[in-house]
């Protein structure tokens, strides 16, 4: 069974949602949900699946490994900040777009993306936003 790249980043439902953290005092939402001591003043909150591209770029060269652990050989990928209305703007990979079509304001929907495997051979997935569904 495929596993998320980190615990607590996505909800267990299908399809999953991203999990943010909501500051109990101020209501401010951040992503990801802070862990450890920092997380004590936050409540986990599922984030909207639908949003719009706030800004974007293409990662055209392979990031340094470590920390990068993406698939080999490297293929350029799109990255964006996605505005989830009324919640927060999250940084994410994009998937399923022609690079030439990318623009600020484009509607997108959360999906997942295969991202290598664990030492035991289980497939790993990360989150990404694709064209609006």
């Amino acid at each position: 069974m495929t596993r998320p790249i980190a615990d607590g980043i996505l909800t267990d439902e299908h399809p999953p949602r991203l999990v943010g953290g909501q500051d109990r005092e101020t209501g401010r939402i951040v992503f990801p949900m802070p862990s450890g001591h920092e997380g004590e003043r936050f409540d986990p909150v599922p984030l909207a699946r639908e949003g719009t591209i706030w800004t974007w770029t293409i990662q055209r060269f392979p990031p340094k490994s470590p920390p990068y652990a993406g698939p080999q050989p490297f293929e350029p990928f799109a990255v964006a900040y996605v505005e989830l209305p009324g919640q927060v703007i999250v940084e994410s990979r994009l998937t399923g777009f022609d690079f030439a079509d990318l623009a600020c304001g484009l509607p997108v929907t959360l999906t997942t993306l295969p991202f290598g495997e664990t030492e035991d051979g289980d497939p790993i997935h990360t989150y990404a936003f694709g064209p609006a569904q």
């Binding site: 706030w54 974007w56 770029t57 703007i89 990979r93 623009a103 990360t126």
Partner: protein
């Protein structure tokens, strides 16, 4: 409270120097600054400085002289040099000392800057999935800015073209060959909309500044270049900064730069319209564009016209990055902010040679920006 004066400047050329460590370059810059000021190491009452990745600055006492000097290592990312300068200015303002030195140096190999998520309070997956790159951040910040305020890709190209043209005129610059606009625009794309000529590279270099109280400087009979303000700020709420997995809704307008700039102008009692020459953080061409507005020199969007009219050229209304900035000099993190101050002192002294700003400049501005959202600004007067 005494104002701080900069009475000596020294630099080890930026770029790549095989066979010299970062510390070697730091020592060379200190000796050069002492010589420029006409003072000796034993006269120094304090030394503050550091590097990001080239070792402990205070070990240079074994080379410069075991005078027992108070030497505090500073390590504050891109604001390392600015922080050392601020500490020196505070020591002088307090009356504790009237003569000392600030130094910054670094030596980064090609392709350096591979930050580890845990050191920035971020989860491992952020780095593993390829989101933790400063190049991406700057590309996305200018991408949004261009769409919002009508900045063209060609304007980004014009910034880089100016950087290389100015760098060709600066002895301490690394990239000293002009590059034409077509070459810049058609070069390999690194992170859209930025091509490879629009980015600065990790580099090597060192800068030292001899600082004195104004009384001391007057007694020594040296030209008075006064530090009117030196301010460092961290990111405000709602800002969009390097290494941020999320941004607040409605965020992205407030920045560490805006906060630092505002405070620096207030401290100096002047406004952006009074500045004669400015060195602005140009990690890439878009950063120079955005930092022109964030530091108050123009409104958002006016950069398109400013660049087309050449207003930031050496002979323009507001010369920006007169030594080619980070794009031409490269970025040795610990030295970069002090290089800007070095260049400003050179300009205020009228010693810029082929790159001298005309019209006898009196007020000079410098600005650095770095992860995770820090900015340092200085204003100098003559």
């Amino acid at each position: 409270m005494s104002k701080t004066c900069i009475i000596g400047i020294g630099i080890h050329p930026f770029g790549r120097t095989d066979g010299m460590t970062g510390l070697d370059m730091g020592v060379a810059a200190v000796r050069s600054a002492l010589g420029d000021a006409g003072v000796e190491w034993r006269d120094m009452r304090f030394a503050y400085g550091g590097s990001d990745a080239a070792g402990n600055a205070d070990t240079m006492v074994s080379r410069l002289g075991l005078t027992g000097i108070e030497f505090i290592n500073v390590k504050n990312g891109c604001a390392t040099g600015g922080s050392a300068l601020m500490a020196g200015a505070a020591a002088i303002a307090s009356g504790k000392a009237d003569l000392g030195i600030a130094v910054g140096f670094d030596k980064h190999p090609r392709g350096a800057f591979d930050p580890k998520p845990a050191e920035w309070g971020l989860p491992d997956w952020y780095g593993e999935t390829g989101l933790m790159l400063t190049t991406q951040f700057f590309a996305m910040k200018i991408q949004r800015y261009m769409q919002r305020f009508g900045i063209s890709a060609e304007t980004l190209g014009r910034v880089a073209e100016k950087s290389f043209r100015n760098g060709a005129l600066a002895d301490h610059a690394w990239r000293r060959t002009p590059v034409d606009l077509d070459t810049i625009m058609n070069a390999q794309m690194v992170s859209d909309p930025l091509t490879k000529y629009m980015f600065c590279s990790p580099a090597e270099g060192a800068v030292a500044l001899v600082l004195a109280s104004e009384d001391k400087a007057r007694r020594m009979g040296v030209p008075i270049i006064r530090l009117e303000s030196a301010v460092m700020r961290t990111r405000p709420a709602g800002s969009f900064e390097v290494f941020a997995p999320s941004v607040d809704i409605g965020g992205g307008t407030a920045t560490a730069t805006r906060t630092a700039s505002h405070a620096a102008f207030e401290e100096a009692g002047i406004g952006p319209e009074d500045i004669d020459v400015a060195q602005l953080q140009d990690t890439e061409a878009g950063a120079e564009i955005m930092h022109m507005a964030e530091n108050g020199f123009c409104a958002d969007g006016e950069q398109e016209q400013w660049l087309a009219e050449g207003r930031t050229e050496i002979d323009g209304a507001l010369p920006v990055n007169t030594d080619g900035g980070c794009i031409a000099c490269g970025e040795p993190i610990g030295a970069s902010g002090l290089r800007q101050v070095y260049e400003n002192v050179t300009q205020l002294r009228g010693a810029g040679g082929a790159r001298q700003v005309p019209g006898d400049p009196k007020l000079a501005y410098s600005h650095v920006y770095g992860a995770p959202g820090v900015s340092a600004v200085t204003i100098l007067s003559r």
